[in-house]
């Protein structure tokens, strides 16, 4: 864990991102994405677009939560998971 100053949390974080990307590749091979319009305003999105928007949104949810609240970051994590799933499913 000394290499690149890894910590367990950051390792889990990047492994999760990697697993999500592998799942996206598998999903694309099994069932190619079709652009569609969901609840996201103005734009039609592909599966990859929705993942990007979901992850970027999650990052901002965490930052906003950390800026305004002293409570546990796990609350922000919970909100982010709901947001990510919602965007992927209905975005």
């Amino acid at each position: 864990m000394e290499w690149m100053a890894w910590s367990q949390v950051t390792a889990i974080f990047f492994i999760s991102i990697g697993v999500i990307l592998v799942c996206m590749v598998v999903a694309e091979i099994k069932c190619p994405t079709i652009e569609r319009k969901g609840f996201l305003p103005i734009i039609a999105t592909t599966r990859g677009d929705r993942l990007f928007i979901g992850l970027l949104g999650s990052a901002y949810i965490h930052l906003f939560f950390l800026a305004v609240s002293e409570q546990s970051v796990w609350i922000a994590f919970g909100i982010s998971v709901v947001w990510l799933i919602s965007v992927l499913r209905w975005g």
Binding site: V9, F14, L56, Y60, A67, V73
Partner: protein
């Protein structure tokens, strides 16, 4: 159903680029993430979780830098984009003068950032600088080293001088790519100069303007060397932008954890704004 099996071996050709991007961008970014959740001092590391994020997000010094940075980038775009279009429209289309204009316009782009800062530092000096001495000579009390308004004016003017050429050159290439048939049709319809600009030139310039706006936004948002050399962030903190605050934190104070946390916030802002620009323009393209 007889589906032809696609040969995907060509994807292996992407591998060198992937490795290059991994070593130059992804792995350093991962290191920054690692640093942002730890307190690193000498050889010891302590896991601190989200503490640095809370600290930097509530740091008034960084908030002030962020606001200054947005004002600066907004001002740069508001000045350089229309000015660049205007310069491109006024440039000769052919002949020696066209070549001369292109060379003259390209010159500021060839000068290194810190040299640009030095040029304007001397140019703006109230005692020996051409601009500073001239302004004081005609009765304008100008001193960028002591007056925040003058410092902002000089930093903005320097950036406009350095980078408007880029927008102008991009627009010029866009204008030259418009087929003559459009202008001939406009002439037959007796279209005014404004109508030609509004309905022919501006729509055709959209793609180059997207590149111009994106480049100028990202570059101005990351500006460091020019204001650092020119004003050193002063007077006070009036021209201290994000990258200067970050550098001071990371290299001056060796607060690697907070600096890493703030780098990621900085990165997310650039990512969001660039994505919004890109998506808006792509959407406009698809709508057409």
């Amino acid at each position: 159903m007889n589906l032809k099996v696609q040969n995907n071996k060509a994807w292996f050709l992407v591998l060198p680029v992937l490795l290059l991007v991994a070593f130059s961008a992804v792995i350093p970014l991962m290191t920054v993430v690692n640093y942002s959740v730890q307190d690193i001092f000498d050889n010891s590391r302590v896991y601190v979780g989200t503490e640095w994020y809370r600290e930097v997000l509530n740091d008034p010094r960084l908030q002030a830098s962020l606001i200054r940075q947005f004002i600066f980038s907004g001002s740069v775009l508001l000045i350089e984009i229309p000015l660049g279009i205007l310069v491109a429209l006024m440039m000769p289309t052919k002949g020696r003068m066209a070549s001369l204009c292109l060379v003259v316009l390209a010159m500021p782009l060839l000068i290194p950032w810190n040299v640009v800062g030095t040029i304007w530092q001397i140019f703006g000096r109230a005692d020996i600088g051409l601009m500073g001495a001239f302004l004081n000579g005609i009765g304008v009390n100008y001193n960028y080293a002591s007056n925040p308004t003058d410092a902002w004016f000089t930093v903005l003017l320097m950036d406009v001088w350095h980078w408007t050429s880029l927008v102008a050159l991009l627009c010029y290439s866009g204008l030259r790519a418009i087929p003559d048939a459009y202008y001939q049709a406009a002439k037959i319809d007796q279209a005014s100069a404004w109508a030609v600009f509004r309905y022919i030139q501006l729509p055709k310039l959209r793609n180059v303007l997207v590149i111009g706006v994106l480049l100028r936004f990202m570059d101005s948002f990351m500006i460091y060397a020019e204001p650092f050399v020119l004003t050193g962030g002063g007077p006070g903190n009036s021209t201290t932008f994000l990258s200067q605050t970050l550098t001071k934190m990371a290299i001056g104070q060796f607060d690697l954890g907070p600096a890493a946390a703030f780098s990621l916030v900085y990165f997310l802002i650039v990512l969001l704004v660039s994505w919004l620009f890109f998506t808006t323009i792509t959407h406009l393209d698809n709508k057409k």
